[in-house]
């Protein structure tokens, strides 16, 4: 009977007045806005699938979509915190560019030619990535310091950064492209070898399902400890099942996309495997960049919702003066948010340069706008104080779906920009209406 404590809630009396949908939402505590986003994504996917004559919802396209979205999704998680604090970061695309250049330079010239590491040394990728992350952190710290302690508006500082870091990216190699990159480093870009294969994908999927179940149980135990209203058991089971099905479904899709025939043949020759009649089916599994994006998403969600720092970021966004009067060091928090943004831009730079297998000085051009758009479409309010990491990542996926869907449909590239721009404006307009009604 202990599970019946939810009936003690005084709000319960009014539950009978709600319609079935509201009652369902109330019991499961699902955010209706998140549901709306998922609905929009589904509509777009099905629409594109029909319009492209069945090309969109295929394992191959969905797998590619996940890889293409990961770079912007990673940066969008940081942009949420920046925008929640009523700031903006216009420099992320350029930071991505300069860090990508530096990492390319580090692995191809610095580590190999100057430090004398042999080509293909397994340490190269991690040293290059560490250098990139450190530089991203420093750039973020510098911009954050100017914004927080010298009181220059974030818009101006990062607008300057947009030009400065793009210029710096050009300057590193006088505009030359660096290619090819280290073979291990390339794995961060996805592709057949940059994926973890079928078996490991299932392992990841099952571990994720167990983690979700544990979290639900733990949350329930915590609430019981303090005798708070609990969700009905059916709602808990429903949420757990939906998330589990979703995770395993995603793994199944990733495992349904086989390696291309040419790569399978080469792999079979290298490992002395005979190719059976009808071809050898080797699944991609989850791509490494996607795993990185998911990991970043989990870490950032944890930071935003479970730590003091995250709480302060939201409190400052809600009322900077109140946060200050509560004794929060608002300047240091601001600076830290920009440092996180810099690190995330560096991780994105690793993924996108690895995917191209080259560092070019145009890497990440206009990404700042995609990142901001993803965060805003994902429900982050430009007025500050509200937004979710998961929403922003969904926003990134939505933008990427539109873009790659239009490529599949053969839409001209100027028209693509027009559609993406229009969708951004309409999405924010719809969100404004929603906020007014609630």
């Amino acid at each position: 009977m202990t599970d019946m404590t939810s009936n003690a809630s005084p709000d319960r009396a009014r539950a009978s007045e709600l319609g079935p949908i509201q009652r369902f939402l109330k019991a499961t505590e699902i955010d209706p806005r998140m549901l709306g986003m998922l609905g929009a994504l589904l509509v777009i996917w099905i629409g594109l699938h029909i319009m492209s004559g069945g090309l969109f919802l295929t394992p191959r396209n969905l797998w590619n979509l996940s890889v293409q979205s990961s770079s912007v999704a990673i940066m969008a998680t940081g942009m949420v915190l920046v925008i929640v604090m009523r700031n903006i970061d216009l420099s992320v695309g350029s930071v991505e560019g300069v860090v990508g250049m530096l990492m390319g330079f580090a692995q191809v010239h610095f580590l190999v030619r100057m430090m004398g590491l042999p080509l293909g040394d397994p340490w190269i990728w991690i040293i290059a990535l560490a250098i990139g992350v450190a530089v991203g952190l420093l750039i973020g710290a510098l911009q954050g310091f100017i914004i927080a302690y010298l009181d220059v508006p974030a818009f101006i500082v990062t607008l300057g950064g947009l030009l400065i870091w793009r210029g710096a990216a050009w300057w590193i190699t006088s505009g030359q492209t660096i290619a090819p990159l280290d073979t291990t480093f390339q794995l961060m870009g996805g592709g057949p070898r940059g994926s973890i294969g079928a078996t490991w994908s299932w392992v990841v999927g099952i571990v994720a399902c167990l983690a979700v179940a544990l979290m639900l149980i733990n949350g329930r135990r915590q609430r019981k400890r303090f005798k708070f209203p609990l969700r009905p058991i059916w709602a808990e089971a429903f949420i757990g099942t939906v998330i589990g099905v979703f995770i395993l479904g995603a793994v199944w899709i990733a495992n349904s996309y086989p390696w291309p025939v040419g790569i399978v043949r080469r792999y079979a020759e290298e490992n002395g495997i005979a190719i059976p009649e009808g071809g050898l089916f080797i699944a991609h599994g989850i791509a490494i960049p996607v795993l990185m994006a998911v990991a970043v998403g989990i870490v950032m969600t944890f930071i935003a919702t479970r730590t003091r720092f995250g709480r302060y970021v939201f409190a400052i966004g809600g009322n900077p003066e109140a946060a200050n009067l509560a004794g929060i060091n608002t300047r240091w928090i601001t600076m830290k948010v920009f440092m996180i943004m810099g690190v995330l831009a560096a991780i994105s730079a690793a993924i996108s340069s690895a995917r191209l297998n080259s560092s070019t000085n145009s890497l990440g051009t206009l990404d700042e706008l995609l990142v901001i758009a993803a965060a805003v479409i994902g429900g982050t309010s430009l007025a500050g104080g509200s937004g979710t990491i998961a929403g922003a990542m969904l926003g990134a996926l939505l933008m990427q779906s539109l873009q790659s869907g239009m490529v599949l449909l053969g839409v001209d590239s100027p028209l693509q920009s027009i559609v993406v721009g229009a969708v951004l404006v309409v999405a924010v307009w719809l969100d404004t209406i929603y906020r007014k009604r609630v």
Binding site: R308, G327, G385
Partner: protein
């Protein structure tokens, strides 16, 4: 309050200027345990500014602050809280986008053994303290923005008393409240006073505070006109102090008192 006892708070010769304007000019005021001192004056008289110096929101240009007879170094809100000084601001200073528990513990979050936020424990504490102040309050999951004026006020008050304050500053605590809620705040002040907490009540309206206060301190143009025990002066005399700066015989005149030509 006999003069021999060490006052809980003693602010001496405090001055602060913004640009060329001396918002507080050589003001002194003190407060004893279990005493309610009302700071009165027109809007812009400097009472909020004076008190924000005590709560650490502003840095004074000159003067000393003694807490329990020892000089206190207060240069930010965190310092003030260390001395047990809690403030309920006129604007309430709530982060509108987070819930009541998050606001109550803002800056002093409870954490689990892992260093993460212990939201459940904070909500439990919040339910306890809010249950005392406003038993009908149930909206713990909603952002403070969605609460009514009175509910927001009770969140702000709960935050101030949650951490065992010794000195409580209430800046226009009833400005946003209806008559019933105002009476509730009055009850609360009496209860806290009985617990031995020293309270500064700031108001521009004498009727709100005269019956609650043990003493009044009137400010005008950044200076203290005078201090008086409420038993020694009438409301009209205090009004005279507020409006004209005229110090009655029952009050101890300050530097801002009107000099009557002899």
């Amino acid at each position: 309050m006999e003069a021999t006892r060490t006052p809980l708070v003693d602010m001496r010769n405090i001055s602060i200027a913004f640009g060329g304007i001396r918002a507080v000019d050589d003001a002194s005021v003190d407060l004893h345990t279990g005493e309610v001192v009302a700071l009165l004056g027109h809007n812009g008289a400097g009472k909020s500014t004076l008190i924000k110096i005590l709560s650490g929101a502003y840095k004074r240009d000159a003067g000393t602050i003694m807490v329990s007879g020892e000089e206190a170094a207060i240069s930010n809100p965190r310092d003030a809280k260390k001395y047990g000084i809690e403030t309920i601001y006129q604007t309430l200073a709530l982060a509108d986008n987070v819930d009541a528990a998050a606001n109550l513990f803002l800056g002093r979050e409870l954490r689990t053994g892992w260093g993460t936020l212990d939201d459940v424990a904070m909500e439990a504490e919040a339910r306890k303290v809010m249950g005392r102040l406003n038993p009908r309050f149930q909206r713990f999951k909603e952002p403070v923005l969605k609460l009514s004026g009175g509910q927001r006020q009770s969140v702000a008050i709960a935050r101030a008393i949650l951490f065992n304050a010794r000195i409580l500053i209430m800046d226009e605590p009833t400005a946003a409240l209806g008559p019933q809620e105002t009476a509730q705040v009055g009850e609360l002040v009496k209860q806290l006073k009985a617990d031995g907490i020293g309270i500064f009540l700031i108001s521009h309206d004498i009727h709100d505070v005269f019956d609650l206060a043990d003493r009044v301190c009137v400010m005008k143009n950044g200076q203290v006109v005078g201090t008086a025990r409420t038993s020694d002066v009438t409301k009209d005399e205090v009004l005279g102090m507020i409006i004209l700066g005229k110090c009655p015989s029952g009050a101890i005149p300050g530097p801002g008192a009107l000099k009557v030509a002899a």
